[in-house]
Structures are given as structure tokens and as C-alpha cells.
């Protein structure tokens, strides 16, 4: 309960500090590189495997019912609406949430945050605002890239069993995919990114008990942000259903 109150205050402070100058543009760009660009190989690889494996797992069942021609549409909708955003966000939480939690936690226990304050730097702006905005803005783009790679993996999976052209594969997906499938899936990823960033920062910023606390911050950043992603996803699905 106390954590929830502190977290709410932390989020409130994020918006106040984030809107007020001085803007830490250079650090924000650096964090976009670290958080976004450096996550690409891991997210790309897992997305490719998911697309490929999902197609290979579906194939026997779809053949049994004689609807294997629907595999591209089925996989496409599943990946774009749900699997792509949620899996990318969970991998992102594991990689970035833990890294932010551990980095800020270690900065806290080694007095680097105090040293920043002494050097005329608002550590909240420099560390929390930049990392949270970077996570919020890079995750949606990572999801778009992950979806594309995942669909390519699926295309290769289909071609293990039959010959299907790249053009036809995507045409079959687009036949069944509507704008309202793509837009909510894209929008919710901003919230997933925000959750990963702010929770990682919160856990690290209030880390204590020395090195043990750093490990605990990293761990709890991943656990809490993963749960938050599922809760946000549930809310997003409910809202999408109403529209």
C-alpha cells in the first residue's frame, strides 16, 4: 500500500519534472540508443523464432481441418494484435527494466545520484525522465520491427511445408487485417514502455541496503513491470472491445 502511494507520487513527479525545462535532450538521445537500438538483436531474434515456431505448431492442426491456407491470416492477426506487443514488452521488461533498476540502484548506493545533485544536475530529470521517455518511445518501434521479423519467420515456416510467395503471404494477411487491429496494438505499447521505464527507475531510485538492494531492485523491476504489462494489456483489450 505504501509502495503504491510512493509510486503514484513518483509518477506525478515524472510528469512535473518532464514538462519543466531544462530538457536533457542529449541524455535522452543517448538513452534511446541504449534502450532501443541495443535491444534490437535480442528482440529481433526472439520475434523471428516465435513467428517460425507458431507457424510450425499451427500447421498440423490447420491441415487436419483443411484450412492451412488461413495460416498467414491467423498468425498475422495473432502476432500484430497480441503476441508481438506482449512478448516484445516482456522481453523489453526483462532486459531494460532490470538494467535500469540495477543501474540506478547501484548509482544510489555508490552516491553517484548525490554527486549529480552537487554538480548542478537534477538527477530525477537526468536519470528518470530521460530513461522513461526513451523506453516509452522506443518500445512501439521495437514492436513494429519485431512484428515484421516475426511475420517473416512465419513466412519461412509456411514455406517449409509448401511453396508460397512472399507477396501472396502478405496479401493473405492484409485481407484479414484492419486498421482497428493495428492501432490499439500500437497505442498500448506506449503504455507498456512507460510502465517498464517508470517501474525500473522507481525500484532503482529508491534502492537501499547496499549491493543486496541493487539485486533486489533489478529483480523486482522485472517482476512488477511484467505484471503491469499484463494488467495494462487486459485494460487495453477491454477498451478495444468497447470501441
Amino acid at each position: 500500500m505504501r509502495d503504491t502511494g510512493e509510486m503514484s507520487r513518483f509518477i506525478g513527479r515524472f510528469f512535473v519534472e518532464g514538462l519543466r525545462p531544462r530538457y536533457e535532450v542529449a541524455e535522452f538521445i543517448h538513452q534511446c540508443f541504449v534502450i532501443g537500438y541495443k535491444s534490437l538483436p535480442l528482440i529481433g531474434l526472439t520475434a523471428f523464432i516465435i513467428g517460425l515456431v507458431l507457424t510450425m505448431q499451427l500447421h498440423p492442426t490447420m491441415v487436419y481441418y483443411g484450412i492451412e491456407a488461413q495460416i498467414p491470416a491467423m498468425v498475422g492477426i495473432a502476432i500484430i494484435r497480441e503476441i508481438g506487443p506482449i512478448l516484445t514488452a516482456l522481453i523489453f521488461a526483462g532486459k531494460i527494466g532490470s538494467s535500469i533498476g540495477a543501474e540506478l540502484g547501484s548509482m544510489k548506493v555508490t552516491e553517484q545520484i548525490d554527486a549529480m545533485e552537487v554538480s548542478s544536475t537534477n538527477p530525477f530529470k537526468y536519470l528518470v525522465v530521460t530513461r522513461t521517455f526513451a523506453a516509452m518511445l522506443t518500445l512501439p518501434f521495437l514492436v513494429i520491427i519485431a512484428d515484421a521479423i516475426s511475420l517473416y519467420g512465419s513466412f519461412l515456416g509456411v514455406n517449409i511445408y509448401e511453396n508460397l510467395s512472399f507477396h501472396l503471404f502478405y496479401e493473405k494477411i492484409l485481407d484479414y487485417l484492419f486498421f482497428m487491429d493495428i492501432l490499439p496494438a500500437f497505442i498500448k505499447t506506449f503504455f507498456f514502455g512507460f510502465a517498464v521505464g517508470i517501474i525500473g527507475c522507481f525500484k532503482g531510485y529508491y534502492s537501499n541496503k547496499g549491493t543486496e538492494g541493487v539485486g533486489r531492485s533489478a529483480n523486482s523491476a522485472v517482476v512488477v513491470s511484467s505484471v503491469a504489462i499484463f494488467i495494462l494489456d487486459l485494460i487495453a483489450v477491454q477498451i478495444t472491445d468497447l470501441l
Binding site: 547501484s106 548509482m107 552516491e111 548525490d114 554527486a115 554538480s119
Partner: protein, 249 residues
Amino acid sequence: MKKQTASAVAVIRIRDLCKSFGTNKVLDHFNLELHQGESLVVLGRSGSGKSVLIKCIIGLIEPDQGSIEVLGQNVLNLDHAGLDKMRTQVGFLFQSNALYDSMTVRENLEFPLRRHSINLSQEEVNKLVMEALESVGLEHTVDLMPAELSGGMRKRIALARTLILKPAIILYDEPTTGLDAITSLEIIALMKSINERYHTSSIIITHDMKCVKLAADRVAMLIDGKCYAEGTYDTLRQSTDEKIHPFFQ
């Protein structure tokens, strides 16, 4: 015989400072003055509130009561900009060095210069960085990462970062903690040479008696949240007071 260079002008004046954490009263009407050019050691047991005291001076911790005047300004009345300005004149050497792990030594030293919005060309910044590194004898480490340095070297780099703004006052938080005996002596010698070279005044927080003996012009004893006793090392060493005597045994 220690060379006395301190003048009677107070650069830091602390009056009735109180700070509690919950029911734990760490500072209880604490009074102290630091004179210009003086090296003042604040001596106390672990957890007695020494670090809290210097963090109150630099504005990192807000005291519950009292006043802290630094170079004529009451720290507690300063706004954010005022605090920043004051911090350009007061250097702080952190107990854990607080070097930024993700930055090179050069970037660590450039950080306070850039953040304090001091308008300097890259050439001037480079010159100041090299000058600060030269004063601690570590010019060759400029492009290394903090993780590549030994404990003593990290302490020296942290000191160079403190020096780069040419502060009038330096606050040292446990400068010899975690260092071996020889490196501790080197750091103490370096602190003394910096005081002489840059004419700084300093408050040194420590419980290392070797550091007290070698670095202090004057010693203030922080006991039970109060400035229990003040004097030179030799005067306090001869004290028979049951709270002071154990420190000098």
C-alpha cells in the same frame, strides 16, 4: 610543529543544527566554525552523524532546525539556483568516490564543468581536466573507465573532479576509508598539498586517527549529536574525558 595558516575569518558557520531520522536524533544543537585556510577534522564514531553533517552543509540533506552559513550565505534560505552557485565554491569528496561508472575519467571531470553552465571552449575544458589530473598525478588515466582504476586511483580522480571547479572549501567524507595504510598516507599528503596549492579550507570527516593526526589543524569531536570538544590533536589526545580518551588510545 604544524604550520598554522588559518585565519580567523569563518567560511562556514553552523549554529544549533538539529537533524533527526524518526526517533534517532543525529544532530542535536550542533555548533561549529571553519576558518579560512583551515583543515578541520570532525571526529566521531561510525553512525554518529558526521556524514549527515557535511551533507547538510552542501544542501543534500535538509536539517530540522538551525542555520548553516557558507561563505556568508545561509544555505537553508537558498533556492535551487543559489544552491548550485554555492556548490561551485564548495567541493565534496564522497566516501564511495561516486565516479560515474558509465563515463571515462575525462567525462567524469568534464561533467561538473558542463553542468554548472560555465561557458568554456573545448580547449579550456581540456586544459582544466589535464590540470586537475596533473594535480593528483594521474594524467595518463584520462581515457580510462573508473572500473579500470585501483581504489587509490579512483579516490584521486574523485579528488580531481572536486578540484576542477577550483572550490574555496572542500568537504571530505571519510577520505581514507577502504584504502590500505600506504595509499591512505598518499591521499592525506595529497589533501594537504591541495590545501596549500589552492588555498582551500576543508572539513574532513573521519574516524581514522592517522588521518586526524596528519591532516588536522583543529579537531572537533561529534559525540551525542553535539560538538562535544574542540582543539588541536595534541590537546585532545591529553584529555582524560571518558568520551574523548578512547579515540586516542
